[in-house]
Symmetry: C2
Subunit: 657 residues, 2 copies
């Protein structure tokens, strides 16, 4: 059976191959009203039919004069001129200004004959029919010359320009009210798969919601295309052949998702090949995520099969579809902005394929960016939504190094501004804390464990780090680590709250777990936590003691434990693993066990505190954070809502400075 | 008369003052369909109602196994497992996988009971009811765990988030099809002034088109607001009082433009003050452009009077209105992105007020940005449309220095990508050249004269510079300057075309101008060109010889010339100045004179050539540029369309390397 991809191609090669087989669309032109042209692409080069300004205009309120009348005027020696009239806006002046004369003139009014400059009213004193002028002028002063901005016949905007408010202002200035723009590219969007169900109704067993239809169509709209969602179709050759075939007749491009891998039921590449020539050109990209991508040219039209996993589909869209669509439109699509950043820690990647790693950007003391990798699983939609962009690790590399310089391709056209950057250990208490904020703060939250948070504070990248690190020597939480990492004097530690950690097991505790010793039992499978998390430190400390009491070396002992290498990243993931029978026991907080209806055997109360750089205490969002942490409201809601959480007398106070 | 602004305020102070008097709007919530939520602001915090993935899923096609079955499997020692079934997507598996067994499984299908990992089909060989597996697995391998992305009860998106395609993907993943978003802020847009006429009909004398209504409403839509254009009203207290008063009842915010300065007919501040308390808070900003800005709070609503000049209105909108609207909405508006750049030359600014200078960004050899100031007049709409953003010169500075580091606030959320950067002298021939491009190239054109172009090439910021620089010693064009500026070996000079320069005068040459000597006559006013332009070099060379022949020193002689200090920046501006009687004579190319129906007295033919860095010759757009320059089509169209232009035998050839 083992079907394989025809030949995995490098992304850039694949883009070029498809482009070679695709001619640009000749998009028709349509006229839209001026303000409706915003965001559209100009379809004709615009040459100015008028001068702008259309006449010499005063740029200030004052008096129009001939500069020769004022040759030696200054504050000591004002020149007295006779006022011969007034020029208002919107009318052509009939009068003429002779030497020794002046006219009142308003901002925007045409300059009368004979005048070559305007003196601002601030430098004048009117007395009856005369005006005293306290400074001289030079020819052209305070006058916008006819056509100084736009000249008749000048090329103003070239076709192909994306119209923003600034281009609209130019079109308005020359009096256009119907703007020639290219019609939008029409793209059919199809989802495939028997497991895919549209949002809006309760999820059936074994099903997942259709993420790709709406996401792909929104990505297309962000590019200025006009997507139509055609629906969800089963993974069936005949059905898909009909749907895709009809879509190819009615649309400029067809994009499906799902049914693209080289496996059992995946039919898109057969469908594409059956519909016309040259057919499938790309079946599999040397890229992760995004590998199972199929691209075809069918009788001159572009048909694209994106992977079914939403994050894979999104990455393949950005890396592969976007440049081809740009080529197809034959018009510039704004390139995504790239930003230089450094990696805060080493990242392993899959050698041999290009690896795309979404990252969250934070800036450090010196205004440089750090790029925190925040997704590993290709299904991690939510984390993708939290990221600012992605980095590319080339095919020939196996890792990217700590502090290595990388280029981040931004997803949006700007970095999401964050008023408060939180990096550190994941905690449900934080959700409650942020709910208590009245102000509309934007938060950036990077969950990479206590140790990651501490290091991020050290590098100045986090405003606040949430940490719960047990020092095995002193059996004290958090404070010893400030000294260990040389942060004395640079940081404060604000007391958070206590959380009860313990064993999470199925209701009734079927395997009778009562201590870390049970982890070594042959009939027990555990789930571990990720290295660097405070909970992992607690687990390893417990296992160290347990292995000692069994007379074993720690390193040897843990090899016996089933599931020791299987690491969950959050308390909730531990609880979920127990719920679904993937393991018998894990260590986590009581609230996570309670939320899943699991049994909980307490081990210890730990202190979840907040590490903050001293100089960030002046930041208002940081002050607010501390204020809310210490508020009665937060303490009450925390204990009401989260089992095993306890606010402390010192909650919200600085306990180490 | 001389009315004055009440008190000019610093922009930041003014923003804070208005914010103190304005409460945030409590925007109502409305539900929109999933894909219609793109770009809207989420009005409720979204907590996940499901786990995602909702079940443990295979992430590859292959065989679901228990890792203990494959403990020592490798390429040499495959393990043979019995295939007990097949798990398809969209159904819950009824079967169980025991040690020694495997099931076929498809990407996205639920993991059957008993299996803890999936081995990819690439590492398997199927033989009848059995499968040989050539590697071991670890628990969890190729499985997306239930809830590893989203967990029930987890806070996914906080209210106040702007929904991009990535947030839409999260909302789809949890099955939402109606999304709670804030209603858009409704803003009334009013233009004032008797001279203002709507686009779409021929311009009447003394009138200008209404630029502000459409531009302001597009800027508001770019911020996500919902503007309504109410029309153009005369500068009349009673009329405006009624219009603004009614608008304040029906809209969240009212924005007018025009009628804001402290002069004769400007009534907006009286209108605002008459409509409620506290009334006008700001009347005049310490900023250029944008000074005549009026801001009021009227019975709790925000009323803003922007300046009438479009560029002033746009700058005041960005600097002043934007942060207040953000405060009013009470939601984060994406902050404009700022980019570090350096100034290519010294810029004088108006001390005492904050000066806003639009700039065009180009990058140099090392990827750093240079910010070319490209607007000086506050009416220069078109040049604003060409700029990428603006820099701010603080109140206390009189200039910004060459090479000084500046921060550029981007207008759009990204830098417009340019395939070809042209910096140098303005030439009508270029418009024709670019019309001949078939490919949709994006061009960045910065017109700062020949000398500026030469220096931009030296700094690596321009791909191509258009220059026409006469060396008075050798009387040769352009090549001597390559040596003078130490560019030998680093650049090539590509021959452009010849243009005839001469005196531009009114039809019939009423002042009988026949040489530079006439510039010294008392009855003659000239218009000069900007320093650094090739034409200025030609003028000064001519005047030097003329003053010598009159027995005068050049520096003294030019002081006698009327209009010598009045500098136009383009050939067209010179022709326009002559047309409108602002001066009697200027020097420029024949084509400009011809376009305005003026008389032309030739002085000399000059060589307009293209300076290109040698290493840029590899850039495809540069190659295209040279190719088209040398094409017969271009040469033909050039001579057909532009009087006084002549293509040369060497046009399009490298004449210096």
């Amino acid at each position: 059976m083992a079907k394989v991809f025809h030949r995995l191609m490098k992304v850039d090669e694949a883009v070029e191959l498809v482009k070679r087989h695709l001619k640009s669309l000749s998009l028709e032109l349509e006229y839209v009203a001026l303000t409706e042209a915003l965001g559209r692409i100009l379809a004709e080069t615009v040459v100015s039919p008028i001068d702008y300004p259309p006449f010499d205009r005063a740029t200030v309120d004052g008096y129009a004069v001939n500069s020769t009348s004022l040759l030696n005027a200054d504050e000591e020696n004002p020149v007295k001129l006779r006022v011969v009239g007034e020029v208002k806006v919107g009318e052509l002046p009939g009068l003429e200004v002779k030497p020794g004369e002046a006219t009142e003139i308003h901002t925007g009014a045409p300059i009368p004959k004979g005048a070559d400059s305007v003196v601002m009213s601030e430098y004048t004193k009117r007395v009856g029919d005369y005006v005293f002028i306290y400074r001289s002028t030079y020819p052209g002063e305070n006058i916008a010359q006819t056509g100084v901005d736009l000249m008749v016949g000048e090329t103003l905007l070239r076709k192909g320009v994306v119209l923003t408010s600034r281009e609209i202002s130019v079109l308005a200035a020359i009096g256009l009210d119907k703007i020639p723009v290219y019609r939008r590219v029409k793209i059919a969007v199809i989802s495939t798969g028997c497991e895919v169900q549209p949002p809006g109704s309760p999820l059936k067993p074994g099903r997942i919601y259709d993420v790709n239809s709406s996401t792909i169509s929104c990505m297309l709209r962000e590019l200025g295309c006009q997507p139509d969602i055609l629906g969800i179709y089963p993974d069936d050759f005949d059905v898909l052949r009909e749907v895709v075939g009809k879509a190819l007749e009615n649309y400029d491009v067809v994009i499906s998702s799902g049914s693209t891998s080289a496996g059992f039921g995946d039919v898109i590449y057969r469908v594409f090949n059956s519909l016309g020539k040259p057919g499938v050109l790309v079946h599999g990209l040397l890229m992760r995520p995004g590998k199972p991508t199929v691209a075809a040219v069918i009788n001159g039209k572009f048909a694209l099969g994106l992977p079914g996993f939403p994050v894979s589909a999104m990455i393949a869209f950005h890396m592969f579809a976007r440049p081809i669509i740009a080529h197809l439109i034959g018009l510039p699509i704004e390139s995504p902005l790239k930003i230089r950043a450094s990696l805060p820690f080493r990242v392993k990647t899959g050698g041999g394929v290009k690896t795309i790693i979404p990252v969250s950007l934070t800036s450090n003391h010196f205004g440089f960016f750090s790029a925190y990798p925040i997704v590993e699983e290709s299904g991690a939609i939510w984390r993708l939504a939290l990221s600012d962009g992605f980095i590319e690790c080339p095919e020939e590399r196996d890792f990217l190094d700590e502090d290595e310089e990388v280029y981040v391709t931004l997803f949006s056209k700007s970095i999401k501004p964050a008023d408060l950057v939180f990096i550190g250990s994941h905690c449900l208490g934080l959700d409650i804390l942020f709910e208590c904020f009245r102000e509309p703060l934007t938060m950036k939250m990077v969950n990479i464990g206590s140790m990651g948070g501490l290091l991020a504070v050290k590098r100045g990248e986090a405003d606040v780090a949430g940490i719960h690190l047990l020092d095995p020597e002193t059996m004290q939480y958090n404070i010893p680590y400030i000294r260990k990492y040389g942060l004395e004097g640079r940081v404060v530690l604000v007391r958070g709250y206590a959380r009860t950690q313990g064993f999470i097991v199925k209701p009734g505790n079927p395997k009778k777990i009562c201590g870390f010793k049970d982890f070594f039992r042959e009939d027990v499978t555990i789930i571990n936590r990720n290295k660097g998390s405070g909970t992992r430190a607690l687990i390893d400390e417990g296992l160290r003691k347990a292995s000692e009491s069994l007379g074993l070396k720690f390193e040897e002992a843990v090899k016996r434990i089933r599931g020791y290498t299987f690491e969950a990243k959050t308390h909730s993931a531990v609880a979920s693993a127990v719920t679904h029978g993937k393991c018998d026991v894990g260590v986590g907080i009581e609230a996570a066990a309670y939320a899943c209806g699991l049994e909980f055997i307490p081990i210890a109360e730990e202190s979840y505190d907040f590490l903050i750089l001293s100089d960030r205490l002046q930041k208002k969002p940081v002050q607010l954070f501390i204020e809310i942490l210490g508020s009665d409201m937060f303490k009450r809601v925390l204990m009401e809502r989260l089992r095993g959480y306890r606010s402390l007398k010192e909650t919200g106070s600085v306990v180490y400075r």
